[in-house]
């Protein structure tokens, strides 16, 4: 029996103490290599990540300082132009329109997802078992739908001629919804896009919050109710504080997802959205791959990442505070 293997168990193993050179024994070679084992296990992943993630991150930033168009693409080399790309982007009035639109869009999507998700989670708790199982099954089914499937479903439901939504609105007595094209007006178009995004995101939020609600001590809420607190007060002062970490995680994830929405807009608008529908991600894409100005596209992408970091750092700080020192 070798000494190392009879050592008492510990999760964090100390490196083997240096020992005087001993006559070679079986296993001695393995022991000398042991401190290197974790690095050897990590090496393949780290190499791959450095090549496919680290390098592109560096390249994105360097690209944003370069003139990089078709000519540079063929030459395979850009020319350094300092902050020119950023200057061009920031001085363009369109930039501010797009920034405000992107932030607003994300805020509406996250807000709706969180509020409706909370309401559905609270509703689930108040339902009798058969109904609760049915609603959960419906949520899971919607959750399982791939984004592209959801997009084409809603596209069909909002079809201007035979879409079931226009039919329903006309039936309900609303005027002007016969042969109504929802994407003519950006505001209406964006409400359809928000609907598709929220429909896809809601189930995850509602089911996760419902799972979290089961961990809120029932006695606490009961006690508050006995003391005369209304439903809102119970939620505000008991349920919400207990569930805060889950709310924060969900809000962070939703913000990250909704800030960079691309596919929903791109596909709903038949892969050629007008400038009225541009968010930062779409603008960056169209500058790069539409008009082959990769440098400017990269600058927009960098700005998007920075904005996202600013927004999410707020949540992350809250999260750290919730977890405690």
């Amino acid at each position: 029996m070798r000494a190392v293997e009879t050592r008492p168990s510990s999760r964090r193993r100390a490196a083997p103490a240096p020992r005087p050179p001993a006559p070679p024994r079986p296993g001695a070679r393995a022991r000398r290599w042991r401190p290197l084992a974790p690095y050897a296990l990590l090496l393949p992943s780290l190499l791959v990540l450095a090549a496919i993630l680290g390098f592109p991150m560096y390249r994105l930033v360097s690209l944003s300082f370069q003139q990089y168009g078709l000519r540079e693409l063929f030459a395979g080399k850009g020319t350094f132009i300092g902050l020119d790309n950023y200057r061009e982007v920031v001085t363009d009035p369109f930039f501010w329109t797009v920034v405000v639109r992107t932030v607003l869009f994300a805020a509406v999507c996250v807000g709706l997802t969180m509020v409706l998700g909370t309401l559905v989670a609270l509703l689930l708790r108040n339902l009798a078992r058969p109904m609760r199982v049915a609603v959960t099954a419906g949520l899971v089914a919607a959750w399982a739908m791939p984004t592209l499937t959801a997009i084409s479903i809603w596209q069909w439901m909002f079809d201007f001629e035979f879409g079931v939504v226009n039919w329903l609105l006309t039936k309900l007595g609303a005027d002007g919804f016969q042969q109504h094209n929802w994407f003519d007006q950006p505001l209406q178009g964006f409400s359809v896009i928000v609907l598709v995004v929220v429909w896809g995101a809601l189930p995850f939020v509602a089911i996760t919050l419902h799972a979290g609600l089961t961990q809120v001590p029932a006695e606490l809420e009961e006690a508050a109710r006995v003391d005369g607190a209304g439903a809102w007060q119970v939620f505000r002062h008991i349920t919400f504080p207990v569930m805060k970490p889950i709310f924060l995680i969900l809000a962070t994830l939703s913000t990250i997802w909704d800030f960079k929405v691309f596919t929903q807009i791109w596909v709903l608008l038949n892969q050629r959205p007008s400038r009225d529908y541009f968010l930062l991600g779409i603008w960056s894409y169209s500058e790069s791959f539409g008009v082959t100005r990769y440098g400017k596209g990269a600058a927009i992408a960098v700005i998007m990442v920075i904005l996202l970091l600013v927004v999410t750092s707020f949540y992350v700080r809250q999260m750290l505070r919730a977890v405690g020192p």
Binding site: E5, T6, S9, R11, A30, A37, P38, Y39, L41, L42, S45, L49, I52, L53, P56, M57, R59, L60, L63, L73, L127, A128, G138, L139, V140, A142, W143, A144, M145, P146, L148, T149, S152, I153, W156, D159, E161, F162, W167, W199, P203, T208, A211, G212, Q215, V242, P245, I246, I249, V267, N270, G281, Y285, S288, Y294, G297, A298, A301, L308, V323
Partner: protein, 276 residues
Amino acid sequence: MTRRQLARAGYNAAAALVLLVTLFPIYWMVATGFKRGVDILSFEPRWLPVPGTLENYRSAIAKPYFLQDVRNSILVVLATVLISLILAFLAALAAARFNFRGRAALIVMLIVVQMVPLEALIIPIYLMLDGAGQTDRLAGIIVTYLTFVLPFAIWTLRGFIVNIPEELEEAAMVDGCTRAGAFWRILFPLVAPGLVATSVFSFILVWNDYLIAYVLLRSPEKQTLGIWLASFTTNHGTEWGGVMAASTLFAIPAVVFFLLVQRRVVSGLTAGAVKG
């Protein structure tokens, strides 16, 4: 009616509304897929696909490149999942079972990396692959998918491994097993369900992608099924029966796999989150 009954009725009405909003779109897709053309193009909706037809499915499958793109999708998904699973298992083993310099930094990096939007990285990735002659090739897109599947897989697998008591491996080593042997004979079988769940999650991530395949794969015979579906919607805009049949076909694998692992998603996120 008492106040209590009134509340119950209100809850049930709200539940019915939620059910309608979640399930009706899905029902409408499936139903439209089985409807005849005249019933789809009717100003008064036909609620049931009666009399039904399989014509839409036949026409979707017969569309150019359908079978080719199914093959591409399967190839890309399998390769991505397999490569990331092998690499991630080794890395997760290191992150969960060894104490080494830089371990905390590694864990922070894994979290941060998942926050970087791929939508921003697609430009340099495209230029890199273009320079290497790997655009419009499945190898290029497999490598690109690894950028987000690999960190995710390491993170998830690490969670599964941490939950398996280390004492089991130590017992095996007391009985004369080597460390590698203990990993292989004790840990590996125990973490197998975790490996399955991780591969299913990765599968869904890749299956749901649109942007990367859209940017990197240009020729129709190289594309994946998602791109085929999206172009179907654009190019045959009014042929809703075919589009809905195609959407159903596209959804089936994702739904089946998703149902296998859905419970784990929630329990993973909420376990310990409240109690800290």
